[in-house]
């Protein structure tokens, strides 16, 4: 089963947190299977609480699985934790930087944890600062950096041990659009350099941009898996028509659309009605002419991962 090409392999991976202070035991990850090989960019897409971060912690060998098997770099995270962690990089959701220390010192103290000598860290430091576009901030205190800079520093820091796998937990959450694009650009470069990326995100655009393959997670389970394109093709029509009606008439309109057999499927959301159709414009024309409905707004767009998620779970990615 295990081939040399596979970097990570999980079978029936489960994480249950024990009961604590009156809260019942909580199953965060419920028997999931996945695997990926060298050079892949693999993403876990799902809303908050889907079990993404728990999965990442198990992959990072800082959280033992409750059940199932997990192999990372051919090793067992429970017994070979230090050896695994020596060869991976971790970018946590909150930056976890030392705010009183400078940019340079942050990378330095982190590198020392890996047992790297001063000279080795010194040699790698310049390259990492360039990569993170922080050359002129090397001696600035972390306190003074913007959110995007901090995130880039956290990524630079995680590369100090030249990891084979980089785990990124919600890498662009909380960043403004411009900072996100800068960060994505940096991550493309890493991918081009052959670093295996494992990303969790609840942004579908991020998943589409960065990931070769995705596992869509919901309530601790993987509900679908494949490339972004394949997921859309397998689960959704090519186009989507979004209609907004006056608040009180929304349900009634959805019912009429359904009765008329418009598109392949109709989804009623609190604020809009979604019509899945291969030809969105044609469907819109039918709404106006055949059904004589007058939506307040109408939008035809390509189907996205958001729609895949909605169809698979009946819920939106971002609540």
């Amino acid at each position: 089963m295990v081939s040399g090409r596979l970097l990570v392999e999980a079978r029936g991976l489960t994480k249950t947190y024990p009961a604590r202070n009156g809260t019942p035991p909580f199953c965060a990850v419920d028997g999931i299977d996945f695997e990926f090989g060298r050079g892949e960019a693999f993403g876990f897409l799902g809303p908050n609480g889907a079990g993404k971060s728990s999965t990442m912690r198990m992959l990072g060998a800082i959280s033992p699985a409750t059940a199932g098997t997990l192999r990372v770099l051919g090793m067992d995270p429970v017994h070979d934790g230090p050896e695994i962690r020596a060869r991976i990089g971790v970018v946590p959701q909150d930056d976890c930087l030392d705010r009183e220390l400078t940019v340079r010192e942050n990378i330095y103290v982190y590198g020392r944890y890996f047992g790297l000598g001063k000279s080795v860290i010194g040699e790698r430091l310049a390259g990492l600062l360039t990569f993170a576009q922080l050359e002129d901030k090397a001696d600035a205190q972390v306190e003074m950096l913007s959110g995007g800079m901090r995130r880039r520093l956290t990524i630079a820091r995680s590369l100090i041990n030249e990891p084979e796998i980089l785990l990124l937990d919600e890498p662009t959450t909380g960043l403004d659009p411009q900072a996100r694009h800068v960060l994505w650009d940096r991550l493309y470069r890493l991918k081009a350099d052959g670093v295996t990326l494992i990303i969790t995100t609840h942004y579908m655009d991020e998943a589409e941009q960065l990931c070769d393959r995705l596992a869509v997670m919901d309530a601790g389970r993987i509900v679908a898996e494949g490339s972004p394109r394949a997921l859309i093709e397998a689960h959704i029509t090519r186009e989507v028509l979004e209609l907004r009606f006056a608040p009180d008439t929304q349900a009634e309109a959805a019912e009429r659309l359904r009765a008329a057999g418009l598109g392949e499927r109709i989804e009623l959301l609190p604020d809009r009605v979604i019509v899945y159709a291969d030809d969105g414009e044609a469907a819109l024309a039918d709404v106006h002419h055949k059904l004589s409905l007058a939506p307040i707004t109408a939008l035809v767009r390509r189907a996205s991962l958001e729609d895949v998620f909605l169809k698979l779970t009946g819920r939106s990615l971002i609540d």
């Binding site: 230090p82 976890c96 030392d98 103290v109 020392r112 944890y113 890996f114």
Partner: protein, 256 residues
């Protein structure tokens, strides 16, 4: 163990930014106390019944007691709130946990740092005691490890507890309601023999009372083998039990 040294070095790196201030406190604290209470209050005490103190000056009686109490306080500062912060919002422990370091090594590195702080701050204290002439010559060298042991007897159990906390509230309450009363009733300021029998038995069982008795007997040069060995054994049990508990709580928190 080599990896524990990486964690130790991390704390030294942070400390290198603030060490000047702590040195001033380490020297000023004993200096002011010995001047104010040792000499000032001691003037009154010495005229009354210095016999109760075993025939030594109040300063000589008081100084080693304060040394033990300072060791407790240093241990609390470095392993109470600092551990809660490191395990929580500062992210220091979570950072270290993503590297090859195991939770037990993160603990060991932190305890090494607390030991370092105890050794340096006690050294400054003992130098001041020498200047006041309140420690008997070479006995000063024996008081030094006794102060370290007293501090570690607090540091290890406190760290074991502090790593489980999510906020400072309990850390502050612990200082106010546990350490302060202990400070008052552990024989730092007066001989425990002055207390009524029942209270004396309870007071002498306090870990700080054991540290005070050990430091004092060594400082005055009156230490006897069975008594000193008893104090040492008592404190060592606290250190070992604290470390055993902390190994469990650190792993539970950092590898949840």
């Amino acid at each position: 163990m080599a990896r524990a040294l990486h964690a130790f070095r991390y704390w030294l790196k942070l400390y290198s930014r603030t060490w000047r201030g702590t040195i001033v406190i380490s020297v000023a604290n004993p200096l002011l106390f010995l001047l104010g209470i040792g000499v000032g209050l001691g003037h009154l005490v010495n005229h009354g019944h210095s016999a109760a103190l075993g025939g030594v000056s109040y300063s000589a009686f008081f100084a080693p007691g304060l040394l033990a109490a300072s060791a407790m306080q240093t241990a609390f500062v470095e392993s109470g709130g600092r551990v809660t912060t490191a395990a929580g919002w500062s992210g220091s422990y979570r950072n270290a946990a993503t590297t090859p370091l195991e939770p037990e090594e993160i603990l060991a590195g932190h305890m090494l740092f607390v030991a370092f702080r105890l050794v340096t701050s006690s050294a400054a204290f003992i130098v001041v005691m020498e200047l006041f002439g309140v420690v008997s010559g070479w006995w000063a060298l024996a008081v030094w490890p006794a102060a370290l042991l007293t501090g570690l007897a607090f540091a290890a159990p406190i760290a074991a507890w502090a790593v489980t906390l999510r906020s400072f509230r309990h850390v502050n309450a612990f200082f106010r309601f546990v350490l302060m009363p202990m400070y008052m009733f552990s024989g730092t300021f007066f001989a425990l023999s002055e207390l009524p029998h029942g209270i004396r038995l309870i007071a002498s069982a306090l870990p700080l009372a054991q540290g005070v008795a050990l430091c004092r007997s060594l400082s005055l040069g009156t230490a006897s083998f069975p008594a000193a060995a008893g104090h040492i054994a008592y404190l060592v049990v606290f250190v070992l039990a604290g470390i055993a508990a902390a190994r469990i709580t650190y792993r539970r928190r950092l590898h949840a």
